[in-house]
Symmetry: C2
Subunit: 121 residues, 2 copies
């Protein structure tokens, strides 16, 4: 059986988790999990991070409604990074954009790639 | 002009960088950059990480030939994570698999999704 304790966590007990849209392949965000967040994500099917700023579990979308349903959890060869395939409801980013990675560097300038979604979308 | 110093680095001066295949959308690996690695990546077009184990710059593929040509560098809303769209030659993973994320958790078991590529591929 997979044991979340078998992953490699950093000095703060955290592992980076990359959320990717299962359908489109779009990388939506990166956040952090501790072993308990990994376990809760697998058990509940609701992607659950550890909020470093709030020092609390963060069930993605609990307040915003922009939940991430777990499709599949993957780990990398070093067991120190997670890839979380998700079914994302609405925008993943707190700026109301689908992805947090909405800024590109082009010709040395920062270019905004997407505008915030309409709340009704 | 974009200044790599404007990103948010951790206590070790590093920022996580997610490499994604520009064509397929596959997430290939996650590694770390410092400000100088970000600058070198943008200047050279060759994705360059900071190796925490070797404490040295790591021009991806320099020894293996499995280079990553930079297509576009993106940053997230918190400026503390990078998404690097790449043109990946050969496997990205040191196990000779295309992606480092080749293990999935299914029904509580670790499942290997892909086998190592033939060196001639």
């Amino acid at each position: 059986m997979f044991d979340p304790a078998s992953l490699k966590y950093d000095a703060n007990g955290l592992i980076p988790a990359i959320a990717q849209d299962y359908g489109s392949g779009e990388v939506l965000m990166m956040a952090w999990m501790n072993a308990e967040a990994v376990a809760r994500t697998l058990e509940s099917g609701r992607v659950t991070y550890w909020s470093r700023s709030r020092q609390a579990f963060w069930i993605k979308g609990e307040s915003s409604g922009h939940v991430q349903r777990l499709i599949e959890l993957r780990l990398d060869c070093d067991r120190d990074c997670l890839l979380v395939l998700v079914d994302q409801t609405g925008p993943a980013c707190h700026t109301n954009r689908r992805s947090c990675f909405h800024t590109a560097i082009r010709d040395g300038q920062e270019i905004i790639l997407t505008e915030p979604q309409n709340p009704s979308e």
